[in-house]
Symmetry: C2
Subunit: 219 residues, 2 copies
C-alpha cells in the first residue's frame, strides 16, 4: 500500500473517530440535561448549555474535514459514502446537542418549583434514547448492520412512550390548571427526547447506507 | 470551454435547480398544511400528508446526484461547496416537509371542532416563515449574500411571535381547561413554524458559506 493511500485511510479513520467522539459528547449532554432537570441542578444545566458551543464547533470541524477530503482525494464507493454520511450524520448529532441545550433551558425554568409528579418516565425515555444513540454509534464504528437495524426497530418503543407521557401530562393539566405551565414544559422535554431517538434512527440508517449503499427512509 | 466542463457545469446547475424545486415544494406544503388547519379542510390535510413521500424521494435523488458528482468530478472551491451545501440544505428542506406533515396531522385532529380563538397569528407566522424560506431560496439561486443576511435577521421576529403565541395559548388553558387539548396542539403548530424559520435561516447561512466560504452558526 502506498504511503499516500495509508495517510488517506488514516484521515478517513480519523473522520470516523471524530464523529464517534461528537456522538458520545451529545449523548452525554442529553443525559446531563435530563439529570439537571430531575435533580433541579441549575449548575449542571448551565454546564450543558455552555457545552453546546463546543458541539457546534465539532460539527464545523468535521464538515471542513469532509470537504478537504473530497477536494484532495477522489473518494469512490465506500470511501465516498464515509464522507457523504459524515456530512449528514453531523447534522443529526448537532440537533441532538441542540435538544440537550433546550432541555437544560427548561431545567433552569423549572428548578426550584416542586414537580407535579415524580419524574420517572422521562428518565426512562432518556435511557432508551441514549441507548439507541450509543448503539447507532457502535454500529457506525463497526459497520454492524444488524445492530443498526435493531436501533431502527427500537424507535417504535420510544414513540409509544412519548404518546403515553403526552397523554398522562394532558390529564394532569385537565385535572388541575396549576400544573399547566410545568406540564407544557415537560411535554416539550418528552418531544425533544422522542426527536433524539429519531436522530439515532437516522444515524443507524446512514450506517446501513454506508455499509451497503442501500438508502433508507429518514425521520 | 471543453464539452466535459460544460456538461459538468450543466449538472451543477441542474443540482441547484433541483434544490430550488424541492424548496418551493416544501414551502407550498407548509402553506397548504396551515390552510388545511385554518379551513378545517381534511382533504387538503390528506393531500399534504400524501405529498411527503415525494419530498423524501427528492431528498434521496438530490443526495445521490451529489454523490455521483463527487465521484465523477473532482470538485474544488465553489463547485465543491455547491455539492457540500447541497447535501446539507436537503436535510433542512426535508425537515420543513416533515413539519408540513406534522401540521397536516394536527389539522386532521382538530377538523370539526370549533377553534378556541380565531386563527390569526399562526397564519401570520406562516407568512413570515414562508417569506424567509422564499428569500433564502432566492438568495441561493442568485448567491445574494445581502438577501441571505436579511433572512438571518428576520428570524428574531418569528421567535418573538412564537413566544407571544405560546404565552397567549397558555393563558387560554389557564382560564378554561376545555381549551387545553386544542391549545397544546396549536402550541406544537407554532413550534413547528418557528422551526421552519430556523431551517430557512440555516439555508441562508449555507448560501453565505457557498458564496464566500465563510461559516456561520447553525440553528
Amino acid at each position: 500500500m502506498s504511503s499516500t493511500r495509508q495517510s488517506y485511510n488514516h484521515e478517513l479513520e480519523n473522520l470516523r473517530c471524530d464523529i464517534s467522539e461528537m456522538g458520545n459528547l451529545v449523548g452525554l449532554a442529553i443525559g446531563e440535561a435530563v439529570k439537571a432537570l430531575a435533580a433541579q441542578d441549575r449548575e449542571l444545566a448551565h454546564k450543558v448549555m455552555a457545552g453546546d458551543d463546543m458541539i457546534d464547533g465539532m460539527e464545523v470541524d468535521i464538515e471542513d474535514k469532509c470537504m478537504v477530503l473530497i477536494a484532495t482525494q477522489q473518494p469512490l464507493a465506500r470511501d465516498l459514502r464515509i464522507i457523504g454520511t459524515g456530512l449528514k450524520i453531523t447534522t443529526d448529532l448537532e440537533r441532538i446537542g441542540d435538544h440537550a441545550f433546550d432541555i437544560a433551558k427548561i431545567a433552569l425554568k423549572l428548578a426550584g418549583e416542586p414537580f407535579i409528579k415524580p419524574l420517572v418516565d422521562l428518565p426512562r425515555m432518556t435511557d432508551m434514547a441514549q441507548a439507541m444513540l450509543k448503539d447507532s454509534l457502535a454500529a457506525y464504528t463497526s459497520l454492524d448492520i444488524a445492530l443498526a437495524e435493531q436501533v431502527c426497530q427500537a424507535d417504535d418503543g420510544v414513540d409509544n412512550l412519548y404518546q403515553q407521557i403526552f397523554r398522562e401530562l394532558l390529564t394532569y393539566m385537565l385535572e388541575d390548571p396549576r400544573t399547566i405551565s410545568q406540564a407544557t414544559q415537560l411535554i416539550f422535554v418528552a418531544r425533544y427526547l422522542e426527536r433524539v431517538a429519531d436522530h439515532a434512527t437516522n444515524i443507524a440508517e446512514w450506517v446501513i447506507y454506508l455499509a451497503t449503499g442501500r438508502r433508507m427512509r429518514k425521520k
